[in-house]
């Protein structure tokens, strides 16, 4: 493990790894789980709400699940503040599509465009990657019910 190569996000290690991306995935490992199951007639998303501190009010908020558009929702695992930025980006992208085409954005395209955003942070700008993984659940007329997973690398 060469520690020399892990402080800059945009550099490969000699073994061909991006350490910052892998460390981001480590950060997610410590978060509460999220599970998604694709069924014939729907998609189920489950999120574990971890109690981080007894001082915090047991929230009735949907801190794990977010609606991106009327036909797409996601479950989040990782650093919540990072997740909020990405969720907002996803919402804007969905609406921008509907503004241009007057139709709902196909789920695969929405996930694709969000992953393209995340990939940018592993290649340029010198900024760290997002420490969030997503499970996207949605429906569109092309492929019906769908479930997608995406991680900090943008895959």
């Amino acid at each position: 493990m060469s520690r020399r190569y892990d402080s800059r996000t945009t550099i490969f290690s000699p073994e061909g790894r991006l350490y910052q991306v892998e460390y981001a995935m480590e950060a997610i490992g410590n978060a509460g789980s999220a599970i998604g199951i694709l069924a014939k007639d729907g998609v189920v998303l489950v999120g574990e709400k971890k109690v981080t501190s007894k001082l915090l009010q047991t929230s009735t908020s949907t801190e794990k699940m977010y609606k991106i558009d009327d036909h797409v929702a996601c479950a989040v695992a990782g650093i919540m503040s990072d997740a909020n930025i990405l969720i907002n980006t996803a919402r804007v992208q969905a609406q921008r599509y509907t503004y241009a085409y007057q139709e709902s954005m196909p789920v695969e395209q929405l996930v694709q465009s969000l992953c393209d955003t995340k990939q940018g942070y592993t290649q340029f700008g010198g900024l760290r990657p997002f420490g969030v993984s997503f499970l996207f659940a949605g429906w569109d007329k092309n492929f019906g019910f769908q479930l997608y997973m995406s991680d900090p690398s943008g895959n």
Binding site: Y99, A100, Y101, Q102, E103, P106, E108, Q109, K141, N142
Partner: protein
Amino acid sequence: MECVFGLVGNEFAILAADTSAVHSILVHKSNEDKIMLLDSHKLVAASGEPGDRVQFTEYIQKNVALYQFRNGIPLTTPAAANFTRGELATALRKNPYTVNILLAGYDKETGPSLYYIDYIATLHKVDKAAFGYGSYFSLSMMDRHYHSGMSVEEAIDLVDKCILEIRSRLVVAPPNFVIKIVDKDGAREYAWRESVKDAGAPVV
């Protein structure tokens, strides 16, 4: 002046356009095809300033193709129509395109559709539409004879009636027309209606 019109029939849509390319009093050519294949199941008939017409329709055509390459699925006709309208609307406040468009398409789930998009980005989904001076005559003929669910023969007959009306009543009537059809088997040229052929090389 340019005449473009179209109508929706039973599981198909038809577009007809004149084929004269005119500059002031000179006719450059009388076999200019103004109906473009937007993709396998969409047609775009455009009228207006010649440079803008070709530039804008090709721009839309390439963007539609790009969408299909990127996403593996074609755009639906309403999506393509709204996208076109959006591009016209965006350009409107800076340097507008003077192009009027009739977009006809066939979608497997929803059947044939026709969209009227004018140069200031008006969008209407319609059963029959027309642009140009010829519209005065073709719309009247279509209002009189059109009914929903026409067969191809009935629709072509109506198109011919419109062309006849334009030829006999419009002072600078274009002599030749092209008719294209789009249905479940795709978009394709149906026929030409020529009353003047371009003069070929003189026989010596």
